[in-house]
């Protein structure tokens, strides 16, 4: 027999995972620095590279990292995505652009929003500057930086930037070695 009722067409079936998170020893100084308005990376002495965000291990060498390096709040866009569809639960109103930004002094890119320009203007090699929220609301997170905005400087050649970064890392690596030998 049939059931002479309109079928239930859809229902909410959310799944929630509730965690109580504790910051690791490696990331804790970074989170405290964010609250002071400082951007902290880690130097990997094995590779000479400056890692950001500092998760406590160098992905290339496996070395545990702890040497803090204060980074600039300016950087270069090395990749970006423009989002046109709304993301459920997100405060962001599309279209918006998320970029991989290589902060000056770092060898790893981080993701953040780009604003104060037309989305068509965002380009690989664009120089950007962090726009901070008011210091009164700073907390232990990267959210203290509201977004990055273009500095107006000319586009950077990404390949040349990579070579510069690698050369600097090599210097740091040698310096770290010298320090150990001494």
């Amino acid at each position: 027999m049939d059931i002479d009722l309109d079928p239930i067409e859809q229902f909410d079936a959310p799944i929630y995972h509730r965690y109580h998170a504790t910051s690791s020893r490696a990331i804790t100084p970074f989170l405290h620095a964010m609250k002071r308005g400082e951007i902290l990376g880690h130097l990997s002495t094995a590779t000479g590279k400056v890692l950001f965000p500092p998760l406590g291990a160098c992905p290339e060498s496996g070395e545990a990292t702890h040497i803090p390096v204060i980074l600039s709040d300016t950087g270069t866009v090395i990749g970006f995505t423009t989002v046109h569809l709304p993301i459920p639960g997100s405060k962001l109103v599309p279209p918006f652009t998320v970029a991989n930004i290589l902060l000056d002094g770092a060898d790893q890119a981080c993701s953040h929003l780009i604003s104060e320009c037309d989305i068509d203007e965002v380009a690989i090699g664009m120089r950007v500057l962090a726009v901070w929220r008011p210091a009164e609301v700073w907390n232990n997170s990267l959210e203290n930086i509201e977004y990055f905005k273009p500095t107006g400087e000319p586009l950077v050649d990404i390949d040349a930037l990579q070579q510069q970064c690698l050369a600097k890392a090599e210097q740091r690596k040698e310096a770290a070695k010298g320090g150990q030998d001494a």
Partner: protein, 151 residues
């Protein structure tokens, strides 16, 4: 509040997957019937009655659509007593996860068995549905099962 610079930081964190699910016509009708406090199984190709209904025959994979009305009574087969329910159980009191076979169905299914203590449960005991006060067309419209003999 100032936190010493070396102190570990703690925070609650919730990761939510806010799914909306479409049950399809067969399950959708079954759920709509639950809202009306009516229970249906579905007849498989070998004549057996499946509860809860499935859209397809578990052996031949053919479509099924022959609903079979079932009673709100059945038998408790086996169970696991949950002495201290946690949040996700959505129960304030101890209960059992139980395999229950409704009268007229040929297979058991998993639901809550409600009792004051596990001593009140026995394999084969007669049970009946306790309906949820608010029904919205979901399997939880059946709040659980209780002893049919009052014990």
């Amino acid at each position: 509040m100032t936190v010493p610079d070396n102190s570990l930081l703690e925070a609650d964190f919730e990761l939510g997957f806010t799914y909306t699910r479409s049950p399809g016509i067969i399950i959708g009708k079954f759920l709509a019937a639950l809202k009306q406090q009516k229970i249906y199984g579905i007849r498989a190709n070998d004549g057996s009655v499946l509860f809860p209904p499935t859209e397809y025959d578990p052996r031949t994979a053919e479509s099924l659509d022959d609903f079979v009305p079932l009673s709100d009574r059945g038998r408790l087969l086996y169970w696991t007593w949950i002495d201290q329910p946690r949040d996700h159980h959505q129960m304030s009191q101890s209960f059992a996860f139980a395999m229950i076979q409704l009268d007229g169905a040929d297979v058991p299914f998993l639901h809550r068995m409600l009792a004051d203590s596990p001593e009140h449960l026995s394999s084969g005991m007669a049970v009946k549905v306790q309906w949820a006060e608010e029904r919205r067309g979901a399997i939880t419209d059946i709040h659980g099962f209780v002893s049919a003999t009052g014990g």
